[in-house]
């Protein structure tokens, strides 16, 4: 389980990377293939596509060879399924474990399922444990077993241990490779140990110091070790105050801890406070991006919403929410039906009523989006819910009155002053209701331990739609505007 791009020589230390790198000192600014947003240029992608169609394997290889593994992964994702297989076949020895690790989950799953278990096992052996777990966890159980049977024993044990923790917890995501040393070492001892060490992770950013029971007692950033004289004991260089991550902590909380305490890496401890792994920020970065980005998708009712999701899964995730929305639209329809006679008499009501509902829905969505984000970032807690609700109500009153004046005047001029007053009042009522629901619905779901992003939208829209139609039509009848 080690990356192959930084070879160790016989004495166990690192050699410079050779290969074509020297000719391209900074190919990460690669104007030939990458555009200014660092995505692959359309012309380049089309050239690869053409070479594939022509069956010109050599041309494909030459085009793809200079790419960084992460960009090869991007290239594969850009293609249709069949083209992907063709491309992978044309560049087999460029399809390194780094490329596989960088692939989108859906694309990787699909490509792995097309390979025999032995081939997948070979890739797994090359991957770091945490990447190997990511690759395996999405496959079905029979497939998992077949692959694990082919994997080297040490790796298999590590992967099975990871799989024994629930999905999206630190135990599943952590790396089992880390550097832990006893407290009595000096800086010099440590450096000698590192120079000798053959079993070290490829990259590490801090040294964990543990006691005889393997409990973490401190941590040394590598930059401190490098700055300290050899004779100093580690106990004098290390920081005793460190952030420890419980092995069962949810990935979202792990991400928030890394953000809050500006961590590069952190020790993961089991139920008995023993050091069992580490999380490093390069993995956490993906979690943070995913968790922060998914709320927009969840609120829209698009589920995971990845463009590489199989169509069947995308359909089933979305249609559920459309059907749920049908239910809530029905509530609105029933309310309208109650006022059928009034609408028959005054068709202006039918013309105006969607405005009240639409603005209310938008105001509710605004407040809900702010609330969901504040909950997700731990900014909105039990301690300040009341203050935030009051704040949002004040914004809602201001918004409601502004819109009410605009709509009321226009309606008063085009239709009748009474109808203008009715729609203005309905608008204030609905926008204020929207503000209240926009805060309280996500807060209620959060207290019930539900993801506030998932279900809030349907409820908030139901409330604003129903209230909009009811307030407007009800006030119209009550005011005698219908005549």
């Amino acid at each position: 389980m080690s990356e192959s791009d930084r070879p160790l020589d016989d004495d166990g230390f690192l050699l410079a990377r050779e290969s074509a790198d020297e000719a391209r000192p900074d190919d990460r600014i690669d104007d030939e293939r990458m555009d200014e947003e660092n995505t692959l240029k359309k012309e380049y992608v089309e050239a690869v596509e053409q070479a594939l169609e022509d069956g010109d394997t050599k041309a494909v290889y030459e085009l793809v060879e200079p790419l960084h593994p992460a960009d090869i992964a991007d290239l594969l994702e850009l293609f249709e399924r069949e083209q992907r297989y063709q491309l992978a076949a044309a560049i087999t020895d460029l399809m390194t474990s780094e490329v596989v690790a960088e692939l989108n989950d859906y694309v990787r799953e699909d490509m792995m399922e097309a390979l025999p278990p032995e081939a997948v096992a070979q890739i797994v052996d090359q991957l770091e444990t945490d990447d190997a777990v990511q690759l395996i966890e999405d496959l079905d159980e029979a497939n998992q077993r077949a692959i694990l049977a082919e994997v080297e024993m040490e790796d298999r044990i590590a992967i099975q241990s990871a799989l024994s923790y629930p999905e999206e917890t630190a135990g599943r995501l952590m790396s089992r490779d880390f550097v832990a040393v006893p407290e009595h070492l000096t800086v010099g001892d440590l450096i000698d140990f590192l120079r000798d060490g053959r079993d070290l992770p490829d990259d590490f950013y801090e040294i964990f110091v543990v006691d005889e029971k393997h409990h973490p007692v401190g941590t040394c950033a590598l930059s401190w070790v490098l700055r300290a004289p050899r004779t100093i004991p580690l106990a004098d260089v290390m920081k005793r105050d460190q952030t420890l991550i419980p092995v069962l902590l949810d990935q979202e909380e792990v991400g928030l801890m890394f953000q809050k305490y500006n961590l590069i890496s952190a020790a993961v401890i089991d139920e008995n406070d023993r050091l069992v792994g580490q999380m490093t920020v390069d993995d956490v970065v993906h979690i943070i991006s995913e968790e922060a980005g998914e709320d927009a998708l969840l609120m829209s009712g698009a589920g995971e919403g990845d463009i590489n999701e199989p169509i069947r899964e995308a359909y089933s995730a979305r249609v559920r929410w459309l059907v749920a929305n049908l239910g809530t639209a029905l509530v609105a329809s029933v309310i309208i039906a109650l006022f059928g006679a009034a609408i028959e008499k005054l068709v202006a009501l039918a013309v105006l009523m969607p405005i009240v509902a639409s603005i209310g829905g938008n105001a509710g969505t605004q407040t809900m989006a702010v609330t969901v984000r504040a909950i997700a970032t731990n900014q909105l807690t039990r301690s300040n819910t009341r203050r935030i609700l009051l704040r949002e109500m004040r914004v809602a009153v201001l918004n409601g009155m502004t819109i009410a004046v605009l709509v009321g005047l226009a309606t008063g001029v085009i239709f009748t002053p009474t109808l203008g007053a009715v729609i203005a009042l309905a608008m204030v009522i609905n926008v204020v209701t929207a503000g209240f629901a926009g805060v309280m619905v996500p807060v209620a779901f959060e207290r019930l331990d539900q993801d506030p992003a998932v279900a809030s939208s349907v409820f908030v829209t139901m409330i604003t739609d129903s209230m909009g139609f009811f307030a407007f039509l009800g006030l119209a009848v009550a005011s005698g505007a219908v005549g």
Copy 2:
């Protein structure tokens, strides 16, 4: 500009942190004050509040003293404005630069504006340059000038240099403290240099190797330096292939680069390819979280949508979109008005028409959320737009037909079979239109160099509302369902 929590002794190396830390080896798992989500417990916050109300400064101090600076920042954010000033006054010597750096932008701005420029300048002197820039950039210009006049010259020059780059670019955000050494050094030379060095940044994760023109030629992770024998030249340990960040690159692209290439830190280069700074992942993590999270807020029309945003700003950000939405709702109303006579004859149309619009709006929002996210993560590019559009159309057809069957049957039973057929067909048309608009509107904004999250929502809703009413009412009239 150095953090105060890791003191250097007279010989310039690091000493262990002392203070109360030793008594609490892992106060980051702090059951007394923190709940399981690592937020401050309500009871604890209330205890601080009570002590503040009682004017018991000593009790306040004792309660707050054990907190991590990031948690002190959280505590300040949880309070009302007036309480914040009281709290800050009660714990002045705990109000370290770390606390200020961790504060929410709005809260920090408000608190800094309440302080005299000399006091702010003192805080600025304590901060790392990048944090100091963040603090200063939001203040008004007169205030900025007054503060900068009080800041030490070296820091002032660094801050002014940062402010000379546009907001949200690498030049504004980068740290000007980094370690760069010439290529001819050996590992031993480097370690000696680091042990002597007094002008080093507090934390660093790689050593940049530069040529005589200060162009980066390679990079050494600290873990490689620690593993290599002293006699090896750096040129043999360093990696020549490194990711370089242009100084004018937008922060969103910086975040994507760190994610794509799994970076911990990276060199920032100016227009002449000279090394001018570094970005480290702990700062980039905040950018990634912000950029990923803001799309949900922008799509809802809630602007920046922070719960600490002043009410006036929140009002003005949101009301603009409500007014814009009023415009689009008007389009829908005009379409309904065209069919006034039909509605008068058959009031069932008024009852049913919001269903078509509502489902269409939801389907459009789903597709739009997926598209916006794919654009933001560089997954959707010019190379695969056609493929993704086709994919989304297939999902839309499946969704549209499912909903059409449900609504058509129900309407056929409750009202008339003709009306059932009409609403079913209108539903398919609108959901497919929604899918098309949900992809093409954000893609069009992206091509026009506009943020696809900002304006797409209003357009997509306008299209689905109008199409929903038009298709349903139009088909009803054309089919003779109105009678």
